[in-house]
């Protein structure tokens, strides 16, 4: 049976409304979801866009515009290289690796991360060898980077800890049980020293997850409550764990100090 959004007439009408300002923001978001879910809707939108582009936009900009933009940016870069707020090298590599293959939602998250990244802050730590993007509830997210035996967790959108509970971060190895990393607060950036078992299993890390646990962390050493954030490791550069000289237990705090 043909479903509502399978009707070509309706698709065409919605598409035209979408492209010509005929939808309010909520309707636009619904239509964008529809485009992601239904290739026929996306194709209709692309067809209309092509026609409207050709009918209403006219010619390309003169080639000189782009040349002049490049020259102006090159000039600005050469005169202000020392003070330019260019992204830090490690960060750029990490986020670019992180973004590879990500979809629209993740691109939005990346945009938020750029904002986090570009806030003035202390000097960067050693290059990150591993990164992961964790997706949480209601569009919240968290980014993990691992630098030797330290892990930095940056929350995008702070969330409140449920009363009488704690969030606990877990490293998920390719084989074996989750490894506890520590209790986290999901407010801006926090740094944890990796416990030895997690550090030893880090080369096998395939992802990270955050669960809701009793206050202070899981009493069993394994997740006991619901998983609220999870994501895969998406960038790794020949991670070599440092020689263990690490205290057992949870780390945290002071990494940038």
């Amino acid at each position: 049976m043909m479903k509502r959004y399978d009707h070509p007439e309706l698709i065409e009408r919605l598409t035209a409304d979408y492209l010509t300002g005929g939808m309010n923001p909520a309707a636009r978001r619904r239509f964008e979801t529809l485009m992601q879910d239904r290739p026929a809707v996306l194709l209709a939108m692309q067809r209309w866009r092509r026609k409207l582009d050709d009918g209403l936009l006219g010619e390309d900009a003169p080639a000189g515009v782009w040349t002049a933009v490049q020259q102006r940016l090159a000039g600005a870069a050469s005169t202000a290289a020392a003070s330019a707020p260019a992204p830090r090298g490690w960060a750029k590599r990490t986020w670019q690796g992180l973004a590879l293959g990500m979809g629209v939602l993740a691109a939005s998250l990346l945009m938020s991360l750029v904002a986090v990244l570009q806030e003035p802050g202390p000097p960067p730590p050693a290059a990150a060898q591993m990164a992961a993007l964790l997706q949480g509830p209601d569009g919240h997210a968290a980014v993990i980077t691992v630098h030797q035996d330290r892990l930095v967790l940056t929350a995008v959108g702070a969330v409140a800890v449920p009363s009488g509970k704690s969030y606990e971060l877990w490293m998920l190895p390719e084989h074996g049980k989750p490894q506890a990393v520590g209790v986290v607060h999901l407010r801006t950036a926090e740094t944890l020293r990796l416990p030895v078992p997690a550090l030893e299993a880090l080369t096998q890390a395939k992802g990270f997850a955050i669960s809701v646990e009793p206050a202070g962390g899981s009493p069993t050493g394994q997740p006991t409550g619901p998983i609220t954030y999870q994501g895969k490791v998406v960038a790794m550069s020949n991670y070599q764990p440092p020689q263990p000289q690490i205290l057992r237990g949870q780390g945290g705090g002071g990494f940038y100090e």
Partner: protein, 185 residues
């Protein structure tokens, strides 16, 4: 159309290839906006340069929650062109004249001039867009090219919101009928 949000994100990270791709994907509309607002190719070129230099530096200030990347880009371009206009001591003269033409539902049939224009034009697309009434074409341009919402247009022109919607809807229907298989191909 490539994923503009992703290209903006990379641009914010000073990725020149992403910025070039962003320019390539958006320059045609930006040029149409600048040309329409400034009505002087030389001033439009200057303003468009300013707009893209600004986009390079301000890419990180885009927030997805506030709207689409395309809408944000168009706003930056439009505001830069309006700044240029003011710097030149001119007032925005974006024509809304065609919108003042009363909507006449009985006026659907093309007149002799329109018929002649159609016969002389080349290509279905050109013929179909050329066959739109000035008011229809103007409102389509205001929404599709300039990025104004129906509500903004109603506020600026003094026309009723319902009338704006009707004119645009009829323009779209006229295009669909004229293009026929063309839209779907």
């Amino acid at each position: 159309m490539p994923d503009l949000e992703k290209l903006l994100a990379y641009t914010a990270l000073a990725d020149q290839q992403a910025f070039a791709a962003l320019y390539q994907a958006t320059q045609r509309r930006a040029w149409a906006i600048c040309l329409r607002l400034l009505r002087d190719p030389s001033a439009a070129e200057d303003a468009m340069q300013d707009a893209y230099v600004k986009l390079w530096h301000q890419a990180a200030s885009y927030r997805p929650a506030q709207g689409t990347a395309e809408a944000w880009l168009n706003t930056v371009v439009r505001n830069t062109c309006l700044d240029k206009l003011r710097a030149l001591g001119r007032e925005p003269v974006e024509s809304m004249d065609a919108m003042d033409t009363p909507l006449d539902p009985a006026d659907a049939a093309p007149g002799p001039e329109q018929l002649l224009e159609r016969s002389m034009s080349h290509g279905t697309l050109e013929r179909c867009f050329g066959a739109l009434k000035p008011q229809q074409r103007e409102l389509l341009t205001q929404t599709y090219v300039m990025g104004h919402s129906h509500r903004e247009l109603a506020s600026r022109s003094g026309m009723a919101l319902g009338t704006i919607k009707t004119v645009i809807r009829r323009a779209v229907i006229a295009l669909r009928e004229c293009l026929g298989e063309g839209v779907a191909s």
